[in-house]
Symmetry: D2
Subunit: 337 residues, 4 copies
């Protein structure tokens, strides 16, 4: 880290900063320029946050040089992490598509969805039993009943199950049924929940918060890994910007960036990012071209009857067509579906 | 709400939309123009979200006209809500300052802070016992010990206590000690937690999420109110923008806007919004000028030793000076401290 | 457009609004609900901006229903516009790559760049003779000398030339040399300049402003088209968001969205969006997968000696590799390079 | 500046960076850590942009330490700049209010506005003769006729005139009439125009671009100052964020921040930031409380008949009431109107 002292910081103030850095075990390099004195400090990057240097008299600015995460970083592990979900490998050469309805609405709706997405080539089934909804008056999910339907669909189709856990209190219940525990975008910095999923022996799908920087997203992964669970799959799902035509702005450049900074697999959810089904297929294909390891796609047997996120759900026909295009592009870049 | 049909939507598609709206109890007004058919629908605004109209064939766009919240709206209650915290009234003529350290670090630190902010004119003491931290390696709070120190400070000074609750699991513990339950910015859409604080008989301080619209913020208040707890105090604390010089961008215009849309009291936290102590005093004064009912200010006996948020914490001297300026401006606009 | 009256607007206020709408030739539909009176108005969408309805007493909100642009809209022209640049067709089946250095620095640098990008498959040469630079102390371009080198490169290679025009005063000079006139991101709403390029018989490459909505971008195209120049090529080049790891956030979903709303061709500039050469190739490939009609790529014979934008410029080797991947994906989706 | 080398950068790559820095006259400090080699470089900050260090092999990141502007910085000039406009002093103890209609629409409208804002205490008259409009179909201003009316209003009332210049071509004309040349938000980075106003002997009011950082805004001021015109007044007018209830988000914290970083005076335009007249008065008062040296307020004799920006224009009555509140708060913080 670099500590920039203000123009008029005197020797006492500079020495106080040096003292604190040395006490914390940092190695020091001092540069006295005409305009400023600058202190370089090299040491344990996970300790920097607690030093409160910016609050010391005479300090103008503190510039971190290294990323604050460690276990999630490419420096910590050079090779790509491959997360195993049963016999599926996420982060390998094969691209995995997780598809299904936003919410589990009924046994019929879910089983029909499962058969359909499996036939089209999906390997995992998504579906929410606990639903975070903006309005308290909206459908909030079937809860345990929904989890049971998901399990039944798994049994019938062999698809693995990815479903959201919203709260530490219901984590044991959800973990009993899920193959992958999804942390939703609004919970990316629910640190209590991150600490709890860290203790469970299941892969975690960590959605990026709608206004989270890539660094904060990797810090959330770090929480889970620091707690002992290394099977984290990152999911880009759009960030909040000033553009209102789309629900959010899909930040596809996050895919190659995360793959550069981290060894963790990354998938993309174009459905929530765009919010309009019409634009989901081209963005799904673009995600694969950008290097994503998988996709999370909302599909519904009848989107206009969906209790949740109908406007962004694909019909079975549109999903089949999307899968064909995804396959063609995957092969063009040397991967497979 | 207004449903805009696409240019080529035929009669069958228009009728299907009309059918669904009528079944849901909406009153319909149909306008056939040269370019588009437009359907106006008037009815229960809390039901709109579940209609999935945008997913129906032939629908181009759905434009909500009324706000989706009800209990939180000015239309529901014309008069300003005054939240009582013991004998304090938040939302009345008096401006209340809630001050103290980011985190409870020790008994001494907290008691010293409490005496000091009280002497300067604060009426509530803030301090975190459970701390949401971006890094898993940072200080996470003293937990119950911290709550006990807060209670002791209350006893000694008479200040009321505002402290954060991070999770439904620890809510009963926090509620035992707190006078006001703070919902942090990262939990504004933790709907499990909102539903739980709704059941507790304590005022709730609801911080705006860092990328929440004013409407989403009021929807979060609606969750708490729909669950039975009407004592909600809103807190603007900065939103995430592209500007990086300040930690966030303090959206002071949210103060008069919320007071127009809602009857709930609004306070402002300039410390977290700005992230640099030097700019906190002018923004605290500006917040009062903009109409805020109170302030949440981070103060620390020794900011450069703080375990959390030192760079944005005021020294006792700077806090006293801020209070003097706040008082002058409050009186200039016909309020008092 | 929909005019929402406030709860307490009386008959006089409602009538005043109806009067003004009728006088402006709008067709009216009145809906009186329990909570609100809502007025639907159908008519010339290009006149709405001048009605100032929101300033009338009793008006709470005005919601536009149709897009405010006309000539640029898909409704005005169903078929894709193909812009001809000599014998090149932009917006057809073939994907065109415009490549070259950020700035023309010298005759040698430019000719070397031109030969190289041509050999790799580019059909147009980019290079700035007038450079908009954030700092007044940075290299500002070779001006007319630069234009002459571009013309020489065109003669030698047959590549068409795309170069930026920054000001109405220098437009005649730039138009003398350019095959495509580029309007830079900072000038997207320089309406004087838009009105002037509208009068020139050359295609215009209109970059999206860094904080422009898709609607504002199409309104800027409308300025050029309303002035008589229908040969507008849109260029997505990243929008400003809170994420700082990349220079801007490439909004690839704008590609299918613009193709839905408008008939104009769209190309993508990943170099400026990302700002780091390493991430340009995957995003170029993703842009093609998303449906872009072309790419604008910064290439430099020696990026680390570039006078401008070196960090985001590709080396010749990296550019050749990118072209190979672009070709494979283009063919996978039924297009060609 | 700090150059962070990548983990595997070898001696040759490090030496190449050192060479380039030394050749450019920078003083070097080398720190070799376990994870990284870090190079500190101290020298002429205005030359850093041209070094292209980030494009050199082995360089991971370049972190600037000092601001890239010089003449605009507080370090260059400790004392506040006071800009004189005739006998008015902007940036001194007195707060100046510049008020008037968005556009000059007619002689009567302007003269009436001028008399009215003068009576209420304004010292400058605003009004656009050339109007930048999002739509090509909207009223674009009276041009020279409008300037003549402004001159007449000045003669009649003694108010100084602030009006926008949109283009280098019309600058001589506008400069003939204006007392202060306004650079609009869309032209903040129109570098041709900045270079031209730098040559004119008139104060310049430089509005912040809607997505400009504070640093970019000060760099735009630097353009004007580097060209020889030191009389720059900065104007905060709202930045673009994801919040849509207000037209933009007024970044009031920019006021104390700019006053810390620069010696230039800062005024605030709440009308354009908010876009709804109802919220303009509280934000005007808050701006003064935050330390603004003046205000730019849209007032119209009859907002609902305005040809431009009616929804955000105050009536004469509301403006008088605003002025009363501004005066009270100005005095409470030791300034005057």
């Amino acid at each position: 880290m670099i500590v920039v002292m203000s123009r008029r910081a005197d020797e006492d103030k500079i020495n106080a900063v040096l003292e604190r850095l040395k006490k914390a075990g940092f190695q020091i390099h001092l540069s006295r320029g005409v305009e400023r004195t600058i202190i370089g400090a090299i040491g344990d990057k996970t300790r920097m946050g607690d030093l409160a240097l910016e609050a010391m008299p005479g300090v103008e600015n503190v510039v971190p040089i290294l990323q604050p995460y460690k276990l999630a970083s490419r420096a910590f592990k050079e090779q790509d992490t491959v997360v195993k979900v049963g016999d599926l490998e996420i982060g390998g050469k094969q691209i995995h598509v997780m598809a299904g309805p936003c919410a589990v609405e009924s046994r019929e709706q879910l089983l029909e969805s499962a058969e359909m997405v499996k036939a089209a080539g999906a390997t995992l089934l998504r579906g929410g039993a606990f639903k975070p909804r903006t309005s308290p008056y909206s459908f909030q999910g079937l809860e345990e009943k929904g989890l049971q339907y998901l399990a039944e669909a798994r049994e019938k189709t062999g698809l693995k199950i990815v479903t959201e856990v919203m709260d530490a209190g219901t984590l044991p219940l959800v973990a009993e049924y899920a193959d992958i525990l999804q942390i939703g975008t609004r919970n990316m910095q629910n640190f209590f929940l991150l600490r709890e999923v860290a203790k469970v022996d299941k892969p975690v799908l960590l959605k990026r918060g709608a206004s989270a920087t890539i660094e904060e997203w990797l810090m959330a992964a770090e929480y889970i890994m620091a707690g002992g669970n290394y099977n984290v799959i990152l999911c880009e799902r759009g960030i909040r910007t000033y553009e209102t035509f789309t629900r959010n702005t899909l930040d596809l450049s996050a895919v190659p960036v995360v793959k550069h900074l981290s060894h963790l697999p990354v998938i993309v959810d174009p459905s929530h990012a765009i919010g309009k089904w019409r634009f989901v297929p081209p963005m799904a294909v673009a995600a694969v071209a950008a290097g994503a390891d998988g996709l999370l796609i909302e599909v519904h047997p009848n989107p206009s009857e969906a209790l949740c996120d109908g406007p962004q759900s694909l019909t079975p026909e549109n999903f089949q067509s999307l899968m064909k295009d995804v396959r063609a592009v995957a092969e063009a870049i040397g991967r497979r579906l």
